[in-house]
Symmetry: C2
Subunit: 360 residues, 2 copies
Amino acid sequence: MKKIAIIGLGLIGGSIAKALKKSNEAGNYFIAAYDLPQIISQALAEGVADKKLETVEDAATYDIIFLALPLSESIDCFDKLAGILHGGTILSDVCGVKGIFEHKWNHLESSGIYMGGHPMTGKERGGYENSDPLLFENSVYILSSRSKGRPESHELLGIIKCLGARAVFLDPFVHDKVVANVSHIPQLLAVALVNSAFENNSENINNLDFAAGGFRDMTRIASSSFSIWKDVISTNKSEILYTLEKLQYQIGLLKSSILLDDQKKLEESFLKSAQRRDSIPKTNKGFINPVYDLFVYVKDEPGVISKISTLLFSNGINIKDIELLKIREGSGGTFRLSFESLKDADSASGILKNAGYEFQ
Amino acid sequence: MKKIAIIGLGLIGGSIAKALKKSNEAGNYFIAAYDLPQIISQALAEGVADKKLETVEDAATYDIIFLALPLSESIDCFDKLAGILHGGTILSDVCGVKGIFEHKWNHLESSGIYMGGHPMTGKERGGYENSDPLLFENSVYILSSRSKGRPESHELLGIIKCLGARAVFLDPFVHDKVVANVSHIPQLLAVALVNSAFENNSENINNLDFAAGGFRDMTRIASSSFSIWKDVISTNKSEILYTLEKLQYQIGLLKSSILLDDQKKLEESFLKSAQRRDSIPKTNKGFINPVYDLFVYVKDEPGVISKISTLLFSNGINIKDIELLKIREGSGGTFRLSFESLKDADSASGILKNAGYEFQ
């Protein structure tokens, strides 16, 4: 029997507990949890947790600890627990920034093991009430490669497998560089672009009144709430600042090519970006705003949207959004189908497979 | 009988000719056209043009001239024609940059009138073979406000009305500022963002391998072809350079807030951008990649996608793409439906209206 402590029964912590308790190996896991009294009472009543942890420090004797609080609170708990872990205890967290934990770990003495994680899944709404045993199904669970190969890491890998996720090892500092590039900088850039374009000029015309497709696509994430980004930005500060400089350098390159009428250099920038952008795997689910998506490959034939949606609707499944990701014109394409819940996506997957549709 | 000269029978020029010839007022328009011999032969055979223009200069005696060639060729023709226009001849163009023509006009003597235009419509593919009498239907046709109110401008307004478009007056230099902000800078930024994120780092991991939803949205236009952008960038150079500086300033603001841990200032930037972005009219069609879209408001009820697509498919209309633009959760939302052609969109509009759907 493995003793698991979960600090924070929100969307991620609650989903870990629910997934373990619904798995075939439920009998192998004893789960203690720390959260507000009413959340713990509900989890105990629902059989999602076996025991209430009175203090964060009580977790130090468990086999595996998941820190599943918001970023700054997870850091506080890490500070309380890291130095007092019992021999062999694995401390993990589920935060979107990894270097800060690793850095702290490298500067302390502990009998335990730290192995940070970043599950690449989520929902629009958080909290225990939205937690879901199927949240991790088919998602990628990034694990710090620093403890890769250590025998204790197999315990954590076993749990991740039990959640239905696929573990991918990544160096924590490389992780923070990657998320700065593909998630944090795009967010800051969307904010900068909207604020830069917003302007009432001489004729009292607001540029944004003429903004359409491309501009809207680029700035969709500009509406994100600051409360989510505050801690992410401050804990990944140095990577973000470095990546902003890289971006400023690229903007400067374009600016000087334009200023000097250097068409050859400008063309080079355009060609490179087109090649690089086209090389992004189209079915990546990634770090940001994960949704319950299916990627279905279909022949490009009239009425295909109608056929698919009618097939699913007649089975009681409602599609929230359909997007055609054009791949090869004339011959076929991949549709992204988004669903309200993972359950819907799961059922839809089965129905479409039976009907002969291919998935990507 | 009004004598119209169209220089360039491509997508826009061809569509102008076809629309006028299909209109109720076809009898009022005599159309002469200048293009490659085989295009002119086809247009004459199809009754789309009445006469072949032997030289660009021959257009100088007509009532209205449309320059509908690619940007740099339109500028060349403008140089040939502007100074030799007969008294009362209106010279117009359909290019996406307006200041350069206005600037040239202000520095020459002419008996004619120049009134630049920018029809906010288009198709993925150009050329006479894709021109379409319905191309302008329900689209916005931007006209230089410099000649607004001049009696001759009514001739041009009459033609635009005949095309089915809605004329909107805008100062040509304000126009170029607006397109720099909402179209040209987003394009350059997408290029810079992809090139900045592309990097094989220490562990030979490419950041782009982890790029997903938000990043893909932001860089969709990075794959645009340089040949389209080359002339646009060089002719709108000063507005683009100025707007790039504004953007660099905004990025600098964010960078210094992050560097100085100034959470208050950072929050202010996020809040402003969210408010400003949310104020963009959701149904704007705008300058970039116009598509045949309908915006249908529907109650948020299960199966609505299936109902709409089945209704249209049973009427022989295929939807190319559906996107749910969420407006009010629980109560209803607006769907964007995209179609292959304006004809499909038009028929779909009638069918959905008859079925009681509301449009936005």
